[in-house]
């Protein structure tokens, strides 16, 4: 268990800067998820922490030790890769034992360690199998076992679930979370899937174009996104964004005044109003929007409605029972506290 600090971390390949100054403090035992679209620098950050790439500028500190110039093996980390990277020519047991090859433990200590890991991951029956005799989930478990056996200060996961099918992904997500609760090591987990980020993280780090956009608990990111990017990245379906503006000291959404104070906002300022599909209410007392349903997506407990309004298409999460029909005209509203306002030019939140 160790804390992990990144200070002004930068990485350039030739003239292209892919990481543009990352500052982050990760507490000991914390489960941190890096999330963002591909090319945002999240995997690069992980590889810098692992020592697979050299840092261009900045400092990486693991457990109070600057590790910039240490080899991966001296950093007290372990990594699980997207395509598992378990060695096809070795049995499961050898794969797990491989992580201990260079350790200074005595042979019985190593054996005991392997047994412990195998027990935690419930792999007793698989020890003599080779990777090509395992399912995707089992392979991923072996990869996690190989990382666990070294009891590293920091676990690094590089999109470990993206090669699994949807059902298995959900299951492994739970297993990894349970595992973390049990062993309490610091975890840095990279994914492009916001659902994984929301469900697993103690804190989420959202990245874009080599910058951190926002760091916070899943709840904070969902409730108080700092910009349009974060607002739309977190949550599925993503937040509806409608053009708004400041007129006569009021925030106007089309012809409707939003129940929000326009103090501190310049007259004529272009805005974006963000409304989550689940914050929109059907046919409320004081509606803000009106439109006709163009498409329904029944999901069982709820139905997604695609509504064409004069301001553009809006997605709304309606109850699963007796939702409005396609073609029906519906009115929609939202509580003032659930309306997000962003500066349309900078994308930053203004309320």
């Amino acid at each position: 268990m160790s804390s992990l600090t990144l200070s002004d971390l930068r990485k350039s390949y030739g003239k292209t800067e892919v990481l543009k100054g990352i500052d982050l403090e990760i507490a000991s035992g914390e489960f941190i998820v890096f999330v963002g679209p591909s090319g945002c620098g999240k995997s690069t950050t992980l590889r810098l922490i692992a020592g697979l790439e050299d840092v261009s500028v900045g400092e990486i500190n693991i457990g109070g030790r600057v590790v910039n110039n240490l080899e991966p093996r001296d950093r007290d980390i372990a990594m699980v890769f997207q395509n598992y990277a378990i060695y096809p020519h070795m049995t499961v047991k050898k794969n797990i034992a491989f992580g201990l090859r260079t350790s200074k433990l005595s042979k019985p200590e190593k054996e005991a360690r392997i047994r412990e890991v195998v027990q935690i991951l419930d792999m007793e029956d698989l020890l003599d199998r080779r990777p090509n005799q395992l399912s995707g989930g089992q392979r991923q478990r072996v990869a996690i076992g190989r990382a666990m056996v070294r009891n590293p200060a920091v676990f690094l996961f590089d999109e470990p679930l993206s090669n699994l099918d949807a059902q298995l992904r959900t299951q492994m997500r739970l297993e990894i979370k349970k595992l973390h609760q049990r062993i309490q090591n610091t975890v840095v987990f990279v994914t492009h899937d916001q659902v994984e980020a929301m469900t697993m993280a103690d804190r989420i780090v959202i990245m874009k174009d080599g910058h951190i956009q926002q760091v916070g608990t899943p709840e904070e990111l969902y409730r108080n996104p700092v910009n349009i990017f974060v607002a739309q990245f977190i949550g599925a379906p993503s937040m509806n964004m409608l053009s708004a503006s400041v007129r006569d000291g009021r925030v106007m959404l089309g012809d409707m005044a939003l129940p929000i104070s326009a103090a501190n906002l310049a007259e004529g300022m272009p805005l974006k109003a963000g409304l989550r599909p689940d914050d929109l209410m059907l046919n409320p007392a004081d509606p803000l929007l009106e439109g006709h349903v163009t498409l329904r997506e029944p999901l069982g407990p709820e139905t997604l409605l695609y509504v064409e309004t004069t301001l553009g298409e809006v997605i709304l999460r309606a109850p699963g029972k007796n939702p409005p029909e396609v073609g029906e005209v519906v009115k929609m509203g939202a509580l003032a506290e659930n309306i997000h306002l962003f500066d349309a030019l900078t994308g930053e939140v203004v309320k």
């Binding site: 991966p72 890769f81 060695y87 096809p88 020519h89 491989f98 090859r101 260079t102």
Partner: protein, 290 residues
């Protein structure tokens, strides 16, 4: 259950459907294949046939000898010289094969997996040596051997083939198929670069190593020009060089040459059978990994 189980076998296809109409094109293709097969097998059949003939029967062009004999085999095996050549060939082919497997793959791996300035130029330089024919190199090799005192030694016979550009190229291409994740995982697990090459990368390219071993072994086993030039004393001859000298100046003893050739195909067959298994298994493994 394998995927093939759910498909109808070729037998059922042939029996349940109406008789397949075969086109003339197909018959011509078969005919060509048949002729090709004959052309391949004939020299081997002829070699074995001649090795079983008496000297006076050698120019009798019958495939089955009138009076077959194993006299030639007893003669060749009892003649001490052949045994010596055979051992020379074995030693040279084995050492060269091991050397190629080690060094070709080490260089191929380095060129493939490490980024360093000039690596492309080095690769091109190595590849370009493939364009120089052996005949052109023989004289410089000879002068070099003479200056270093390598004439008529094992080292002299072996040194030009201890590493090959072809092997380096082959191994580099195969290492391209090894995902970097394996190497990075090993790096995090604490192996140094040489250990990663040996215990992670090499086992993953076994099929390529087997192919390389077959090529190199056969190439050195059958090599003729260079061993002929660099050796002077009959004790240093390899099998092909020694065999060519069977008989005297007036008369070439074909039946003995063919007997020696027949015996000397045995190690190549063994090498092929042993390593071929790895090649097939490699292909199967690659398929299962999906």
């Amino acid at each position: 259950m394998t995927a093939t189980d759910i498909r109808p076998s070729s037998d059922t296809l042939l029996t349940t459907k109406a008789p397949v109409k075969r086109s003339y094109g197909q018959y011509i293709r078969w005919l060509l294949l048949f002729l090709g097969g004959i052309a391949m097998v004939m020299p081997i059949a002829w070699m074995i046939s001649t090795s079983l003939k008496w000297p006076h029967e050698v120019y009798n062009l019958k495939l089955i000898p009138d009076e077959p004999t194993i006299e030639n085999y007893t003669y060749v095996l009892e003649d001490g010289r052949f045994y010596g050549w055979f051992m020379n060939s074995i030693i040279i082919a084995v050492i060269t094969t091991v050397s190629n497997i080690l060094f070709d793959s080490l260089v191929g791996y380095t060129l493939c997996k490490f980024k360093f300035p000039g690596r492309y130029i080095i690769f091109i330089a190595i590849l370009s040596t493939l364009m120089i024919p052996t005949e052109m190199l023989v004289i410089p090799w000879y002068i070099m051997s003479q200056n270093f005192g390598w004439l008529d030694t094992y080292w002299g016979i072996m040194f030009p083939g201890l590493m090959t550009a072809f092997g380096t190229f082959l191994m580099k291409q195969f290492f391209e198929t090894v995902p970097d994740d394996f190497l990075e995982a090993a790096r995090i697990d604490g192996l140094n670069e040489l250990q990663i090459w040996w215990s992670v990368a090499m086992p993953l390219v076994k099929p390529a190593l087997a192919a390389l071993a077959i090529f190199v072994f056969l190439g050195n086993w059958t090599a003729f020009i260079w061993p002929l030039i660099v050796t002077n004393s009959p004790e240093m001859y390899t099998v092909p060089v020694g065999l060519s000298g069977f008989g005297d100046e007036a008369d070439v003893a074909w039946e003995l040459i063919m007997t020696g050739a027949a015996i000397s195909t045995i190690p190549t067959l063994i090498v092929f059978i042993v390593f071929q298994r790895f090649i097939i298994r490699g292909v199967v493994m690659a398929g299962l990994k999906g």
